[in-house]
Amino acid sequence: MSGTFLGMPGGFPANAAVAVQDSQLRYNLRKATHTIRGKRVKAVEELPDWMELRAAGKAIKDHTLRHLDRYLLQMEEAVTRAGGTVHWARDAAEANRIVTDLVKATGEREVVKVKSMATQEIGLNEHLAAEGITAYETDLAELIVQLGEDFPSHFLVPAIHRNRSEIREIFLGKMAEWGRPAPPDLTDDPPALADAARLHLRERFLASKVAVSGGNFMIAETGTLVVLESEGNGRMCLTLPETLISVVGIEKLLPTWRDLEVFLQLLPRSSTAERMNPYTSTWTGSAEGQDFHLVLLDNGRTGVLADEVGRQALRCIRCSACLNVCPVYERTGGHAYGSVYPGPIGAILTPLLRGFDTELDASLPYASSLCGACFDACPVAIDIPEVLVDLRAKVPHGRVERAGMKVAGWVLNNEVRLAKAQRLATRFRKLVPKRLPGPLSAWTDTRDLPDIPEESFRDWWERTRRSERSGRPRNEGGRGVSEER
């Protein structure tokens, strides 16, 4: 796995504790998640056949995963036939080496990039930098993150933790180091900031010879790659350079061209809550004479596939709907998850991909109240609570869990005490323990926040106790804090 996040100390609770004390972050996250959440419900309700699309999307993905070997071979053949070259990468190191060699073969020292979680997962930019190749991120948010030298915190709005004045500071301070400087009279007006990014990157797009992308979907039948985006930087990267290298997880495959009719409805509406995102590009092999390379990435995915409960996580289309409805994510932000995959999906995908070796990864399955809102929101019906519960059973940290439960029980079983604790925590933080020990400390740190409906706590507690008693995970179609229904 990537070294990108290895600097992250402590487990999820420790990271969360830091994050929830950052009021700017909390404000931005609340605003962002609530805005998207409300819009998404509208975009989804507009379609009379949403549930049928969701059922089809889930089944198409499951079917593909069942026959992944066959479809990958079909993809390889179709891409090759259309003039592209296919590479296979077992892990991050292999993928990084393939991409580096391809870039070096062009003689170039710079590449432009369009936002890709797969390349973040493998730490490609860092690897390229070590090899003397500069990777320029071109998404506005990724640009902000790259110039600000920090980590993305959300799939879709990776700079959600930055406000406009911080962005202005970053542009003024850093753009010149990377290329065309920001205009000195730059204001913090969003259109002005966007315009500065347009000018800064336009030069780069026109000069770049090599681009690196990910892909939202690959069509086995035709060998077609599909990239959805909003800003047009994707079109720039996919179209202008002479060489295009796409690094795509093996689970992104769809069997037929027709299957896109399902996912081009599910993804935009679930993610940005739009009827359709501004731009979708599709291409097959070498398009308009471009030299095209597809790197098929495993990096732990076949391990996830072998997990009978966890394999459903590979259906994920990275829409981020589960992040936006998650009460834990809303308070902690993406960084606490210590991975490029934050939020509910990250809480299952990260340990599934890389195991429980670190304290952080072992604590991730606890970064949830099991309220079920993520499952309801997921366009491919991934039962995240089910996987969380299954993972908790697999974490070799039974004692931590029991300590956490005990503490949570003490607070949650007594509403009077809870109310008191909430008030105390607000006014006399010092008088109560700063952080409760164990995996649930993230909750205790945020209990002074007024807008978690109490029901969700009780719900959660009841479910947890019930499942403890019966030894079975809750799975009665979660209702939770989501105010959408």
């Binding site: 962002a32 049928e52 089944a59 009978e308």
Partner: protein, 186 residues
């Protein structure tokens, strides 16, 4: 392909086969609308485009030429197919005028398939004027997917380029054309 790469391919395929061994196959239910019928495709398409803050004109076929002339007056427009354009010329032009391969009423989407011009030609100019014939407008996404040829590079356009990356404020126009204007000819 070197042997290391060959090794990776076989190893990944082997891991997959071991992982899914014995897993049941899955039927794909297609109970969603596999074709979408809308009462007034032109009206709905125009309304949806307007939601994206594209500029829309619905014009009788006979008046299209005059409308194009009016909208492009005094502008240096790229007309794909007319001649070759360098990238600098494209970037410096005021706009580009194209047709489309197909349009989708329900989502307000226009699809280009490079028969209207190379992809760079519809990307670098800051203004895109797109002509859509009423009979090119289909109801929904499935209708469009069925009619498009994936062998051609496709660009699906739904409104001008946009970002919500700064505090979730929608800003029109980052890298693509900042203005999208559509003439629907009836």
């Amino acid at each position: 392909m070197d042997t290391g790469a060959m090794g990776a391919r076989e190893e990944i395929l082997g891991r997959i086969r071991a992982a899914v061994k014995g897993a049941p196959d899955v039927e794909i239910p297609r109970d969603y609308r596999t074709s979408v019928t809308v009462a007034d495709p032109v009206g709905l398409f125009a309304e949806r485009l307007d939601d994206y803050r594209a500029i829309v004109h619905v014009v009788p076929a006979a008046d299209v030429d005059a409308k194009v002339a009016e909208l492009t007056e005094g502008k240096r427009m790229v007309v794909p197919g007319e001649r070759a354009w360098t990238r600098d010329e494209l970037a410096a032009a005021d706009g580009v005028v194209t047709g489309c391969a197909i349009a989708i009423a329900e989502t307000g989407t226009i699809v280009l398939d490079t028969r209207q011009g190379e992809r760079a030609q519809t990307l670098l100019p800051d203004y895109h004027l797109c002509l859509v014939r009423a009979d090119q407008i289909v109801g929904g996404v499935p209708d469009a997917v069925a009619r498009l040829d994936p062998a051609r590079p496709l660009t699906w356009i739904s409104g001008p380029s946009a970002t919500s990356d700064i505090e979730l404020n929608r800003v029109e126009g980052v890298h693509g054309p900042r203005t999208l204007e559509v003439i629907i000819s009836t």
